[in-house]
């Protein structure tokens, strides 16, 4: 069952993703079989559009509607727009992770250059989470979503220490080499290969969301 904390954490990320909201509005019209349930959450907002969130578990996905009295209604739904899977917290998971990404790329007919960026963004963040919290008690959830003009790549680690990658300041590579150790190279690559990076931390849950804008020729036919 989704916790209130998970929902609030996801909402903070979602409110920065206008395209995603538009995409879910479309899904709202396409799906009619939800199980409606009221959630005791109060969120100060005048939004009245449905919002979709991802939970830390693989299912169910839920769609949220914020009512006039700030109550949020949760509507369970299944969407084909995104894929989510949980992977064991170990470097050896990478092979399965790349397979998962390949499935997503093929499903959406995305070009090789996009696949490369998604592989790299996921690998760098996943290995960072494993490296800094190797004893975390949970797996790490990876969620990939294709919206109209972009991709959202999200990793959720619900047993992690805070490490806000958006506040990390990169180093000049020559300086790194002089120090005779390579550190931060992965984050440097991620921040230069995706268009936006967001970080949220609540209740030991780190949510890293990366957005890659799609060009016209990034999608095949």
């Amino acid at each position: 069952m989704i916790s209130q904390q998970m929902i609030l954490s996801a909402l903070r990320v979602l409110f920065r993703e206008c395209e995603l909201i538009a995409c879910i509005l479309k899904a709202d019209r396409m799906h009619t079989t939800w199980a409606e349930a009221e959630l005791p959450i109060h969120f100060p907002s005048d939004h009245s559009v449905p919002l979709c969130i991802w939970n830390a578990c693989s299912a169910p996905k839920i769609l949220l509607r914020i009512c006039k009295d700030d109550t949020i209604i949760g509507l369970e739904q299944q969407s084909r727009e995104y894929m989510e899977r949980i992977f064991p917290r170990q470097i050896e998971s990478l092979e399965k992770i790349f397979e998962f990404i390949r499935e997503f790329i093929e499903q959406h007919h995305l070009r090789h250059s996009v696949a490369y960026t998604v592989n790299l963004a996921v690998e760098e963040i996943f290995t960072n989470l494993v490296k800094y919290d190797p004893r975390g008690s949970t797996g790490i959830s990876i969620n990939l979503a294709k919206n109209r003009d972009d991709l959202t790549i999200r990793l959720i680690d619900s047993d992690s220490n805070r490490f806000d990658i958006t506040k990390w300041r990169g180093e000049d590579i020559a300086q790194t080499l002089r120090k005779k150790k390579v550190g931060g190279l992965g984050l440097h690559l991620v921040r230069n290969m995706v268009d936006d990076v967001y970080y949220d931390y609540e209740n030991r849950t780190s949510t890293i969301t990366m957005v890659k804008h799609l060009e016209h020729d990034d999608v095949g036919h």
């Binding site: 470097i91 050896e92 990478l94 092979e95 790349f98 090789h112 250059s113 490369y116 592989n119 790299l120 690998e123 760098e124 290995t127 000049d172 590579i173 020559a174 080499l177 005779k180 390579v182 190279l185 992965g186 440097h188 690559l189 230069n192 290969m193």
Partner: protein, 94 residues
Amino acid sequence: MLDIKMNDKKEIFLSGSFDASQVKKALPVFESIDDSVTVDLKNLDYISSAGLSVFVATHQRLEKLGKAVRLTNMNKHVRNVFQISGLHQVFQIE
């Protein structure tokens, strides 16, 4: 999966994916090099920072011996990663 081959001229040929899960496999090969080396990347589809770090460590070690790492035949995606990282200024790339 990363495949590593070395010929009689001590040239290294990499193919597949050089990601973090392949570093343990690659390290013994690169750590055994003590002379200038050419690494052919024609069939290398993917490299992440973990793979780059192996190249950098090899470069740093060989540089002290007056030797160099030369990288050849990289595809445009791998080349792009080298350029973004700034490492294209460090290695001899052909």
